[in-house]
């Protein structure tokens, strides 16, 4: 019964709606306001349940081709996971090491990880792009990005 993937999704969405409604019912209500802070969330929660139920009972429409499209080869999944990890590292080190250094490391290693092997071009782009962006933000726009351990 749960075989078509949209049924699994609809159950997940119903679970999300129930959790959202549970939180909405915890919200305090004030007698002096006509529409409480919880009114809209309650409408949304029940609306999502109704729509998810509708999705659940919609017949399967996916073609074989579409199903195959959804299948991601393991090698690609590893690449996506790797890039996500690098993004998380970028965020973690951004304020600690500074924008230019972290961006340089990110662009260089991310491009290399995704299969770019022209090291000299890669090196040049990873240095120039963050440097130009950093100068544009700090000098032209007056937005200071973290300088980190680089003293300028």
């Amino acid at each position: 019964m749960l075989k078509p993937v949209h049924r699994k999704i609809s159950l997940l969405l119903i679970a999300l709606a129930i959790f959202y409604l549970y939180l909405a019912y915890q919200l305090p209500s004030f007698s002096n306001s006509v529409i409480n802070a919880s009114t809209m969330p309650k409408i949304l929660g029940f609306g999502l349940i109704a729509l998810s139920l509708f999705l659940f009972f919609t017949p399967e429409q996916e073609t074989k081709e579409e199903k195959e499209k959804r299948h991601i080869p393991k090698a690609d999944l590893i690449k996506i996971a790797g890039v996500v990890l690098m993004i998380l590292a970028y965020i973690f080190f951004l304020e600690r090491l500074g924008f230019i250094l972290v961006s340089f490391l990110f662009i260089y290693f991310c491009s290399y990880f995704l299969g770019y092997t022209k090291h000299s071009i890669n090196f040049l782009v990873s240095i120039l792009f963050p440097a130009i962006l950093y100068s544009a933000f700090t000098m032209l726009l007056g937005i200071s990005l973290p300088s980190g351990i680089i003293p300028f």
Binding site: V34, N36, M40, R70, I87, C110, F113, L141, I143
Partner: protein
């Protein structure tokens, strides 16, 4: 200030050195970004927002409008050269544009696209000048019930017109409003769904959602296709058009510039629908419909005229009602709010220079698309040769910095990653992201106008029935999603019988 003076002050702004410079930069940046596979106008505008923070709002809007139609045009370039439409609005262009390119007539196809875009853009800007003020004056009588009904209509219309399942699009819209309920409720001061996290008190910034759902989610798709390079590039061929070609183009351009504009004004429709309808109607009207799909000049001219006309048309509800009708104009509205501009019926009378400046700059922008982009195309097309791995890293870094420079808070960057994952999963399971972003932008305003309407009526829902305009829009909203669902249900039943 009257309309004429307003237009004159707009002309003054659009033809100032600053105005021309930023239109040019916007159109160029839009073309470059729009050309890259996967990155469409929404990503292009979202990426540009951080650059506009300290700008004069009018100049910023001129820049972003340029980015918008530049990106639509850029998308058609990659459709023609690579058969890889950057955005859904230019898919129809590839039907005949790519066969032309394969025949060695890429230059001609690009010229047709540029001229048709110019024509569609220009005609629709004239229509915009005529209709936006009229609509603004009607909109002044709009109260909270009408605004609420209009927003509901916008959301249901975009859901029913987006690709694929209407139910999934509606779910996407509901999730978008849910996301906007996070944070302090402006009216009661209650904190909602923040899990005691102080970073969530002010809610989620729309740029986080826009860049996550669009730019980062596209990056995932780019990673999977990272090894596809554009090796099948052939010589562009001549850009010149014969008299016959011009004759072929004139009919579709005339018709589609008007039809495209009308479709652009309607909430939810926008460039994609306009380009497909343009293509289909011209194929039906053609004397030799069998030529369509094999590299017909009309097949390129029709969708290109229509999508650019729809782009300007989409500005009508945005500027005159303050209500975006599509995902792209929703992001544009978010950008305006960042700049402290509240579009709506009063914009034209209170800030005539901004209102008319943007409109007049669209003429200039369309001209730039034609005279500057066309000769530059062979050079601009080189951007398609940027290796995918490098492009992916740069887009990620740019998105991160865009978000960081508004909040200076790394928490928002983690949220950006989460929305990137959500956006990718939505694409994977065919939930359209445009209703989500539109709902996210409209959600707050919707709740506010709903509250105001209920306060006005002392908690009586019949206020939505007693006001004829609001009632009409709500009925239209109801029909706009029930009819497609009912039709889908019936065709399923027929298929399974």
């Amino acid at each position: 200030m009257g309309s004429i003076e307003g237009i004159l002050s707009g002309v003054q702004l659009a033809f100032s050195i600053e105005g021309i410079l930023f239109v040019f930069l916007g159109v160029l940046a839009g073309t470059l970004i729009g050309m890259m596979p996967g990155l469409g106008p929404i990503s292009a505008i979202a990426i540009m927002i951080p650059l506009t923070y300290n700008m004069d709002p009018t100049v910023a809007l001129v820049l972003m409008a340029g980015v918008y139609y530049g990106a639509v045009f850029g998308g058609s370039t990659s459709s023609i050269l690579l058969n890889a439409p950057g955005i859904s609005g230019t898919v129809a262009t590839s039907f005949d544009g790519y066969p032309m390119a394969q025949r060695g007539e890429a230059g001609k196809a690009l010229a047709v696209a540029a001229i048709a875009s110019f024509f569609g853009g220009t005609v629709s800007v004239i229509l915009l000048m005529l209709f936006a003020p009229v609509l603004s004056s009607v909109a002044i009588v709009f109260g909270p019930p009408e605004y609420f009904a209009l927003m509901v209509l916008g959301l249901t219309a975009i859901s029913s017109l987006s690709d694929g399942s209407t139910v999934k699009a509606l779910i996407s819209a509901v999730l978008g409003i849910m996301a906007v309920t996070i944070g302090i409720d402006s009216q009661t001061g209650t904190t909602r769904f923040t899990f005691n996290n102080p970073n969530l008190l002010e809610g989620i910034d729309f740029l986080v959602v826009a860049l996550g759902l669009f730019a980062l989610a596209e990056v995932c798709a780019l990673i999977i296709n990272r090894n596809q390079t554009s090796k099948d590039r052939k010589s562009l061929g001549s850009l010149k058009l014969s008299k016959n070609d011009m004759k072929d183009m004139s009919g579709p351009m005339g018709r589609q510039s008007i039809l495209g504009f009308i479709l652009g004004v309607l909430p939810g429709a926008g460039a994609t629908i306009a380009s497909f309808i343009g293509y289909i109607t011209e194929k039906k009207l053609a004397k030799k419909p069998e030529e369509f799909g094999k590299g017909a000049v009309r097949g390129v001219a029709a969708p290109e005229t229509a999508n650019n006309a729809a782009t300007s048309g989409a500005f009508v509800p945005l500027l005159s009602l303050g209500i975006p009708g599509s995902g792209t104009t929703a992001v544009l509205l978010g950008a305006l709010l960042v700049l402290d501009i509240q579009p709506g019926p009063l914009l034209m009378s209170e800030q005539p220079q901004l209102f008319w400046g943007v409109i007049v700059s669209m003429y200039v922008g369309n001209l730039f698309l034609l005279i500057l982009n066309l000769p530059l195309i062979p050079y601009i097309a080189k951007i398609l040769a940027i290796p995918r791995p490098l492009l992916i890293s740069l887009v990620i870094m740019f998105s991160m910095i865009g978000v960081y420079s508004i909040s200076f808070n790394t928490f928002d960057l983690y949220l950006l990653v989460i929305f990137g994952v959500i956006g990718y999963l939505m694409r994977l399971f065919k939930f359209p992201p445009a209703p989500f972003i539109l709902a996210f932008i409209l959600g707050g305003m919707m709740e506010e106008s709903f509250r105001q309407a209920m306060t006005m009526s002392n908690n009586d829902l019949s206020i939505f029935i007693n006001k004829p305009i609001a009632l009409g829009m709500l009925i239209a909203a109801f029909l706009s999603f029930t009819v497609p669902i009912w039709q889908g249900y019936r065709s399923n039943k027929k298929n399974s019988a």
